[in-house]
Assembly symmetry: D2
């Protein structure tokens, strides 16, 4: 039923970018059926899952909630949402489920564990995993879900806790294209961009590739800025030159890692907030695994991974990942 | 005299971007004194120097020409310019000289050699070195030039032979700020952007830092695109995702290294034209030297250097530097 | 029974090096009970498994054989050994089983698959996995085996097909110490060194760490020799100097990668034979995975992995891993 | 005269290893002519030069001393040696001179400076530079020295202050082979091994290549030991396994970087003493320069350079270079 509805609503274009349409489109969609919305399951109410679930509530979706830590569910229970005691129970009561979990192992447990979703999943259900995990694990899960007659999509996010709160996440979605519109209906309540990437696993792949390139260009920017400063260049001037030249990148023009060059970025605030070094190290670990599995050489990506690994051990784990500039700049003392 | 004129014309702002002003300003300046222009020396008429010198001629500057290869001077002699037999002779006849040479050693020879510029340089002369060399060599040359009562500026270019022909080079200029306007008068005839970077050597520093970051982000883009493709992503789609995300960089959005993603770039033309791998390896060697001298860590820069070094040995020396994608993508065969 | 025998025979020392003792000891053990030996299961009769199984036969052990490729079993069937149709069937007929498989996935399938060993394993059985796989997979398998009341040990080998044929492999063994002597009884028939490394997974760990260091020092030797040669040193002389200095390593003094420096090594024979680049790349992939899992920085190990990855794609996959010298030395052409 | 004597004494073999012969041979030589020895110049009385010069004194050579820091000469003046006020003055009074200076620039100044050796060097003089510098600088100096009719040899040392005191340095000597015996006469008083490496510059080349390989295998050993420990291996056991396997190297079997594995090495003494991280970083900088000049790829060497560069900035500059283990092992905290 829900499934057939979704099928009818399915878009057909190759490339979807819901960002522009949202102000009008999604609000309309969301208000249209406010009264009759069927419940959505949500598993994993951590730092990211909590505000994401709240945005679904704001859009009128009743929730079926589960988290391994009961405390994480309290807030939702008090708000009148239904809390159950296992992923299987979520699957019994909801035919659309979002999972938002920290690791591949957690995701496997939530789906295939003794009390996992697959134990009670209904045919035609739509299961969307927004965890950032190994794309090969996403593919495995999709196979098992498919065997049960349900649909699996991977939809990892970019954007941190702030974007989760304000509903401005970007979702990169992999899965059967016919189901994309159905996924978009829910994801559009939590994010400002919902991008279709291709078959199952490509959502993870897109995120991993982007973050690997991000890490590389951030470290590169930090190295280039540090070298330039030591060679006598003014940091602001150097940033300007790079940004009007071929060295330009997001890390140099939008998120410059050198204190004093830009306002409103973590480097202007002692590298607090932003995207933590630990998270970057985790994503680079996934890139590394994917590259090893596919025999893809990633010389710089691999070294970037090791650099963030080192930083985690040197007290930078909770700082924004642009703190690599600070890590590199420390002066030799003689 | 020429020197005092230059001093009077000196600009005072911190940051100069001549690009916008040129259409009106420089043409005016250039046509204004067409009849009375004093000769400009030009040493080094190679692939880059040749079209640069011609642009000076177009703007009405009589030239005093020297190159170690007499053949390189013929064309200019036939056009009526004066060819002399040593850098010293150039210095005797011109109080503004541009040098455009391949290596640090060549530059040292042209200035400090047995028949070098310094043997006959006149007080108040303006010597502009557009070679890309080690900034510490630029500083050494500046000291020697200063001892003779003349002025030295480093002004390496970005942009290749095409930009040299069309007068669209970017000059990154280091030297005494009061002399910048005088340098700009000449450099503006050969380039569309003339950027003041700070003290002597900072022109080189800016170029080196930019090109190091460029190399890093190009290799990073190639690695991310290759990994994504192997994980099942469509290359055009992946490029779009990167370009609207934090992985965005000049190498991904303007000069994408993957054939089929963009038109009009070397990757669309079997990596012909563009900026050769050998030249990138040379610039990375300079970055490496500068980093070693200043004890600046460049982990990715250093590895990028080695990668381009390897490529030179594997038949990529004359291909555009974006061919690193091709270098990485080769498939394992079993 | 066999299990209790093993328990009684268990050694107690911390460090075991069976190499020296073998000539007398093991032969004695092996001949002692020639008549009454109980059958040993062997799963995986590939390039390595085939000669290993034959050495068990030579020592009088009747075999229960299984391989996914029936052809691999023919030779053993003709020799009178019993061939069965699944790992489960092997487990039904033998209480000591050796597995020798190419990947972690293959090992998981052989143990935990639909017709895996665990389906019919007898209590007290000794299961020895000589595959080179991820130590975390070994630990998982050990847990499952333990639940069935049996014993699992990881015992990867070093030494190639030649050593497998001549019974000169080195086994690095992880598992319960009390069971080591029982494992040693079998492994000693196939190898000249059987080393006890600690708890389950440490056999894999030891092998992975050794091979990672080997890869690093081999590439380092290749780089140092190549640099020295380009700086004018005679290769033989340079090797001598390194070998009497602090640069000395197995790769420089026993397996020098430069043709002409040593006899009887792959570099003297166009890099044929030896330890293939593909296998080294595989082991470095395992090192990478283990390092990522344990958050251990491996800067050089990670780069070594990428270098062997690149070599596999450039036509070196079947050459000995010392061919990295050839890969690096190619000359730039201008 | 001195020169002709040297020429007559010149050895002819291709390979020289004075270590074994010394106990008898050199002592004999040294005592033989105790009374009539001509003075030897010594420039650079730092941490290394001081004990080296003293060993020459012990062997009966009168010294002509110079150091830019007059205090460094006091001790020698008080001991009756002649202190002069410039390298030129040394050259005026001695036809055999040893230089022991920290950098390429210092060496150039001592030879070619305003008051350098070359200003007053006598024909036939033997000038031995034991500084560790860029081999291309050694070659330049050799050319200039040759023009003056004198002989230049590069003879960098391995072994630290302890070896300098006890006369157990190793000298790696480059230069005209006919002069090697003459150099050996002096160097044998300060070192236990004097190795002939080939033409001028090859002494430096040999040292640089050895130290680069040393740095690589030390970091590799630290990575492998750290990874193994995190995977559950006992460090002493792992070291044993590596040392009997293909991972064996000087850094694992003679100078193990893990505290508790060996006695009498810097890792057993909080990384005090030994070969400082700063010095290793300097040598790797020379390797990097030489590799860039000769277009030799050094992927691991280059990364090793950057790692030691980072360590210098993180408080490890005065610790032994094996402290890279400590640098890598720091734990991530969450």
């Amino acid at each position: 039923m829900a499934a057939s509805l979704r099928l009818r609503a399915a878009a057909s274009g190759f490339w979807y970018w819901s960002g522009r349409r949202r102000a009008a489109g999604l609000t309309e969609v969301c208000s249209r059926s406010m009264a009759s919305k069927t419940p959505v399951g949500f598993i994993g109410l951590g730092n990211m899952g909590n505000p994401m679930a709240k945005n679904l509530m704001k859009h009128g979706y009743p929730l079926i909630i589960y988290d391994v830590f009961p405390d994480a569910c309290k807030e939702f229970q008090e708000a009148g949402e239904q809390v159950v005691s296992s992923p299987a129970d979520v699957a019994e009561k909801a035919d659309r489920i979002i999972t938002m979990l920290p690791t591949s192992d957690n995701a496997v447990e939530a789906y295939s564990g003794a009390n996992g979703i697959l134990k009670k999943v209904k045919k035609g259900s739509l299961l969307i995993d927004s965890s950032t995990i190994d794309p090969s694990v996403s593919k495995e899960l999709a196979k098992e879900v498919e065997k049960m007659g349900a649909v699996f999509m991977d939809a990892p996010v970019s954007g941190g806790v702030g974007a989760a709160r304000s509903g401005n996440l970007t979702f990169m979605v992999g899965g059967v294209e016919d189901e994309f519109a159905a996924a978009q209906e829910l994801l559009g309540c939590m994010g400002s961009s919902v991008l279709y990437c291709g078959a199952v696993g490509t959502g993870q792949a897109a995120k991993i590739c982007n973050n690997m390139l991000l890490a590389i260009s951030m470290i590169g920017t930090a190295e280039a800025m540090n070298l330039g400063i030591r060679l006598g260049l003014d940091p602001k001037l150097l940033a300007k030159i790079l940004n009007m030249s071929s060295g330009r990148c997001w890390s140099s023009d939008t998120y410059n890692p050198v204190p004093g060059v830009m306002d409103g970025v973590p480097s202007a605030n002692n590298y607090q907030g932003g995207f933590g070094t630990t998270l970057m190290a985790k994503d680079l670990g996934l890139a590394q695994d994917s590259a090893t599995n596919t025999k893809s050489p990633i010389l710089l990506g691999s070294l970037a991974h090791q650099i963030y690994r080192m930083m985690c051990a040197k007290g930078y784990s909770k700082k924004d990942f642009s703190s690599v500039f600070q890590y590199l700049r420390e002066e030799e003392t003689f």
